[in-house]
Amino acid sequence: MSSNTVMPVAPAAGSTAASTQPAEASGLAVAAARAAGGAGSREDRARRTGEVILSVENVSLSFGGVRAISDVSFDIRKGEIRAIIGPNGAGKTSMLNVINGFYFPQQGVITFKGEKRREMRPYFAASSGISRTFQNVALFKGMSTLDNMMAGRTLKMQRGILWQALRFGPAVNEEMRHREVVEKLIDFLEIQHIRKVPVGKLPYGLQKRVELGRALAMEPELLLLDEPMAGMNLEEKEDMSRFIITINQHLGTTIALIEHDMGVVMDLSDRVVVLEYGRKIADGTPDQVKADPKVIDAYLGVSH
């Protein structure tokens, strides 16, 4: 198999979903889902996932002579949780940066919501519906949780800076609307008690939650999470996993995440893409990926 073979994947099933898979593959998947009984939650969720929201085709990215990503293709379907995994230096974060427009690949095409991506500022990616969190928390440390999350609403602000500065009439009404969205997120993430605490004073696990809140405040269609559980203890991981599932199921947000905790990845995601040295070595459901000899080699080393 070449490194960019796409495996047939279950989430293509479903009558309402507009499948982009070839007819046979789709039929196979339906059969597979039926064979599995189709009762588990993952299958239920798979049926809800629909058309491709973002596709990455033959993307290569290099910095000078260093190839960070070479010839990687995969797609993300609407409503799914898609994990990108791989050993250190595999190019996962670079991939995320390519997706949200921070880097522009030298080769290859990125299509988001049916539109080919041109070179652009991340700002436009954000306003077109992609938001993200960072591997190292990137919040405004001196600002409160509430202000950080309100900052996430900046793109949705209609009134200009003058109105906002005057804080008068329509600008106040607008702020109240935004505040309501943010307050609902604060309630959802259970961070009422730190609403007014400067973020720099918070423990790491809570900062990550605030960052997630800020990303959600943008009401994204595609949410990119770069190691959302790095450095967390078991309880915090459980909380975060619960939030991710709820965001996916009840807000219907498509999620792409990078994570090192394999237990979390395998439990949360619908499909997993595995990178190694900038190349894709596997792509499929968690079970398929787990059984893939190349993945096992990449993680455990090859015996010679």
Partner: protein, 661 residues
Amino acid sequence: MNAGQPQANPDTVPKLLVRNAQVFATRSAFREKTLGIWQTWTWSEVLEEVRALALGLQALGLGKGDTVAIIGDNRPHLYWTFTAAQSLGAIPVPLYQDSVADEMAYVLDHAEVRFAVVEDQEQTDKLLSIADRLPRLARIVYHDPRGLEDYDPDRLTSIEALQKTGRAKLAADPGAAAAWMAGVEAGKGADVSVMLYTSGTTGRPKGVMLTHDNVVISGRNANIFDRFTPEDTMIAYLPMAWVGDHIFSYGQAFAGGLTVCCPESPETAIDDRREIGPSYFFAPPRVFETMLTQIMVRMEDAGAIKKGMFHYFLKVARRAGENVLDGKPVGLVDRMLYGLGDLLVYAPLRNRIGFSNLRVAYTAGEAIGPELFSFFRSLGINLKQLYGQTEASVFITLQPDGEVFPETVGKPGPDVQIRIEEGTGEVLFKSPGVFHKYFKNDEATAATKTAEGWVRTGDAGFIDAKGHLRIIDRAKDVGRLNSGALFAPKYVENRLKFYPEVKEAVVFGNGRDFATAFINIDLVSVGNWAERNNVIYASYQELAANPQVKDMILKRVEEMNRSLAGEPLVSGSQVTRFLILHKELDADDGELTRTQKVRRGFIADRYGALITALYDGSRQAHISVEVTYEDGRKGKIEGDVDIVDVPTFPSTAATLKEAAE
């Protein structure tokens, strides 16, 4: 609000609500912080909410005599569920929201609960996990729908949906409101209004049945005692299953039209308190302790000027504060300094902890350290103690304004009579709050309630010269020395533990010639002292064996003995010999309960050799005990322990000797 003085005294809580909706119609009744904003319901709005909820519950099949479990944090909707159930003649049974499912199963089964009204998914999950053991439980009603979207709708209903049903019924049937009202009117004061399960340190929890008379009259009396009016506000943050919250935030609030504020979440309670600025506040001693620690820790981080100012005015407060609060004479200079201190330190501090509008604060539940108590009082916070229990609808004794002594729990409340039983010293009371009976446990009822209506508290105490009640110990723990003098181990242990250097104390003496004590030093406090005084130590054991530490503890015990000598009844309990244990008492070794209470019997067995040494006059004893490390390994700690003699003092208070006989 003179226009609407209530004509008659309603005798049930739903009737109180109907009255409040007329008399205090537009006054705020409940507040809850949601989405960061305080939402307010007036009394007339509450009536509407309760009626809709009641009709919804009725449609679900709730009727007279049924029991409804209520589980969750303090939420207006859950308080309204009490009234809604009561208006139908049903009996609400609040459960502690942090109990594990197994503990709940017993209470739910024992109380024969048919419906459970819960706050959220967490509680729902717990109930569903034990549902197969509860065949009577027909339906779970929840308040917060989050996470419950995918649950079986045949078993779950939301409060919102119930209220919708209720409102639809009211709209469709013009007689519905009147029928509900007739149900409310039919309620009597003697009806059982609520069932509260006591947490039960021994054996299974017991369901204490309180009548409407109990709750309403106790609430009303307490309002009279501290002159509460509808202007008063409180914050409800203690478990609803606890009798205190039920009487304060429900009985008193409904009886007096007070405003009850529910925090956004338990974590935000402190900030919410600051925003609300309650005028009436209750907290167990440990809450005040945490508050004090936080204040002190934060002051350590303050700049030199602020710190200096803080400590200077704290000294002034210690000198004059309590007298100012009690309206006693204070010298002109001190009064002026205190006024200045109030401006610069005390008022900002009170604001910081949310006590700016505070008129009355109570603490109860366990002994409060006199220094802690005085600290808050000297800042102008009217902190008082009360003594009560579930069986009394809380109030037995309260400290009246201006008559606050840290060592007493106050005078009998309005309409309360107390009596000290001859011989055992047990406190008995009779009051309008005396519970109806224990649910399905007549044996326990008979053991607690005498034929004449006196209730045994299980506590031993005495009435002092000022007419105040002083509790010394659990009656069953009180023993006698060979001299015949009363021996109250817990009382002495608490006195010792008030010293910051003493972490734990175990006192022996029942059936002996004199009292002796094991002491655990407090590693934080003594360790801090060691650091400042260049005393080098590597472990608890080493520090405990330090002669300077021994002298320090000796001074404390002597100090306590001197003060015990001034107290009748317990002057015989002065500690004659003590030793500092070579290891910390630990729940892992079975020496403490999980709630950090001393297991006296177990310790007496385990350290038998030391007790012998305490009484046979030896200067030193060798001890070796097995310990369990955190990872489960076992090991041995052994060492030689010095035994210290302490001077005792002749009793200076023989006045109340007859009470001890």
